[in-house]
Point group: C2
Chain length 408, copies 2
């Protein structure tokens, strides 16, 4: 099978076709979960998969499974991702994992490539959580991370629940159709990197070893409000000054840790936030991610060592949430690396910073992911772009990895 | 007249009575300009002033003038302030200048104190600008700072214009009744300090020399957005990190200037302000005030010397507005100081940080102000408080200053 390859024209056609479903007219898409645009994408997926001979089922969360029978009675090898997007998102995040899965299946069918295991191409429902909170909802439910009843009650901005939207969608199926460890052997998810590293390093394929662990903290600074024109500087307790000192402290100390640590102070809320009033309450968040739990421990130590008072303001912090590092199946990771090498694609091992459905699935099945470059590192925006040549390279590595697993 | 004094029971009655108009039930008031609560306060003012023999007129901005005839045909000596408040404001800001004016007039009438000049107690319309932007609207119009047509068109949150509210109020009078330099000799405004200095220094009376000059700038930091989990630290352009460095720079440099300088970074806007996204656009304001224009010049120099790049982000700034220092009439200031001394009240010279109607009036008439302490420096909030004993001391100084000016 060394010479087999997916088809660049077909790959391009898939990308162009699906970019119409939810087209914003400005280069991107708005394709919220279980919206009309999502239904268009799902219909096109089902139509194309059926035309190639797939049998299609859905589970009780609306996840779609398009399966091509194997020559033996064995568990499925699944691949896929999600087709929903954020508001004014791009044409690659999520959907590329579906489209490359479709292209791999099409190549296997059209080239008559023998396979022992059933091969399933999947769409996960509501990965973004942009319409119904939280993100990764359906993989969360079927892996037991989220309570299904709570998820069905999750409301969109207009008060429609996920359960109502699912009932009306026509995509609600049986719970017995869920991906599960007995009937499934593997899950593979191709995704855009959503960051700038692969492009900056001029690398074709990200060999994803896992999803980094993270902590998210909120800091709060309590000062004393007062009129900008009346309170002498020496008598002030300025919560924004305290917060700026804390941001400086965190950057100074965290920069001493491992260089692969990424951390972000992304959200700041200042109260009363009036130009003529000394701020008395400022909060900001710190998001820190690293694959090594020891480094995350060091981050938490630095957080704990923040002075209890800055600029005469009271300093406090709390953990909002955290997640442990998820490691993917080492053999699958090796397959991805080997296959990139075989095709002559430059590649590098890396961890995913963002979360993906695959990280939840990794708790019940052997899993890995394949990353392709994001131009400019852009993601969750309309200018999101991965050249079709890179998409094809990803599809080829995905194809060979499916076939490697099929041989096992 | 050395022994004459205002009456503490009457002073207290005035404060208690007026605190009912717009009572929030939580210790403060919401008495927006030309609201029902404002009308109640205006009616009570007119009723009490008429009962003491005043003649009442209003001008075309709804300002009220209650005048007690003098023994000679001379220009008026006016005193007063505003009776509107911010949302959930206190019982002292503005209204205390009206109530002490009323108490001074009542003392003069009841004690039969002879005076050559007509004595006028005033209410300025819409000083706070809390319902109709801008603040100090009516003193701004009659001193030619603001365009009257624009002010009449200023809308509240419900779309009602100031002009419509004024027409419906019954307080719209003739333009010829406006305070003017020909018919008025002086304007005196007693006000709470709105800051913590008098209380901290245990001083009864603030002898106000003027209103400090100020500049207000907005700084902007442009970085590059990116996912919190994907962009390596070294590749980031974090606009919030840049802003925090700028806040530190400004505090470090401005703290080297005169200790009477007050400056505030009160408002910060971070975009997109999401905990998982690197901020790409942060703005914050700097408000700086000092009585000496040379110090304000030094502030502007420091602003101009801010690095054009911080944390790899582009730094820019612009002046939003400024005002020059306003100096009050030196003779009147001396009167206030002398009268505080005569009564044995501790006193200190100071400049006002906040703006007041008196600062606009100072362009057309000799003016001064008297400050009384604000407990805890609180202002524009429900816990605003000045003990009645302090209010009485202020009224006594106001009374003697009116009588001093009357002798001139």
């Amino acid at each position: 099978m060394e010479n087999v390859s997916c088809d660049i024209k077909r790959m391009e056609d898939k990308i162009v076709t699906f970019s119409k479903f939810g087209d914003t007219g400005k280069g991107g898409i708005t394709r919220l979960a279980l919206s009309e645009a999502d239904f268009q994408a799902r219909e096109e997926f089902c139509k194309r998969m059926k035309a190639l001979g797939a049998e299609i089922v859905t589970d009780d969360m609306g996840n779609i499974y398009a399966t091509f029978k194997g020559s033996e009675d064995l568990p499925h090898i699944a691949m896929g991702s999600h087709c929903d997007s954020v508001v004014q998102g791009g044409n690659y995040d999520g959907i590329l994992g579906v489209l490359t899965g479709m292209e791999v299946a099409e190549t296997i069918v059209k080239e008559n490539i023998p396979h022992r295991h059933p091969i399933t191409v999947m769409i996960w429902t509501n990965e973004e959580g942009a319409r119904f909170d939280p993100a990764m909802m359906s993989s969360g439910v079927i892996t037991g991370k989220f309570d299904k009843a709570k998820m069905l009650a999750s409301k969109d901005m207009e008060g429609v629940t996920f359960g109502e939207a699912l009932d009306a969608s026509g995509y609600k199926g049986d719970e017995k159709n869920r991906m599960n460890p007995k009937d499934y052997k593997a899950f593979l998810e191709l995704h855009i990197e959503q960051g700038p590293v692969l492009e900056a390093e001029k690398v074709d394929i990200g060999v994803v070893e896992g999803v980094v662990g993270m902590v998210n903290y909120e800091f709060e600074f309590i000062g004393q409000a007062g009129h900008a024109g009346t309170v002498p500087q020496k008598m002030r307790q300025d919560a924004l000054l305290a917060a700026s000192e804390a941001i400086q402290y965190l950057h100074r100390e965290l920069d001493k840790l491992d260089e692969k640590l990424v951390y972000t102070t992304g959200r700041i809320i200042c109260s009363p936030n009036v130009h003529t009033i000394i701020p008395d309450d400022v909060k900001f968040t710190l998001d820190a991610r690293h694959q090594d739990p020891e480094v995350i421990k060091q981050v938490v130590e630095i957080i704990k060592n923040i002075p209890s008072e800055l600029a005469k303001c009271k300093v406090s912090y709390k953990e909002l949430w955290s997640r442990k590092t998820v490691s993917f199946n080492k053999e699958f990771v090796d397959f991805v690396e080997k296959n990139a090498e075989t095709y002559g694609y430059s590649n590098m091992r890396m961890y995913s910073g963002p979360g993906h459905d695959a990280q939840f699935v990794a708790d019940m099945l052997p899993v890995t992911m394949i990353f392709v470059p994001s131009i400019g590192g852009h993601s969750h925006c309309e200018i999101e772009k991965t050249p079709v040549e890179n998409c094809l390279k990803g599809a080829n590595v995905l194809l060979q990895t499916v076939l490697d697993i099929d041989k096992k």
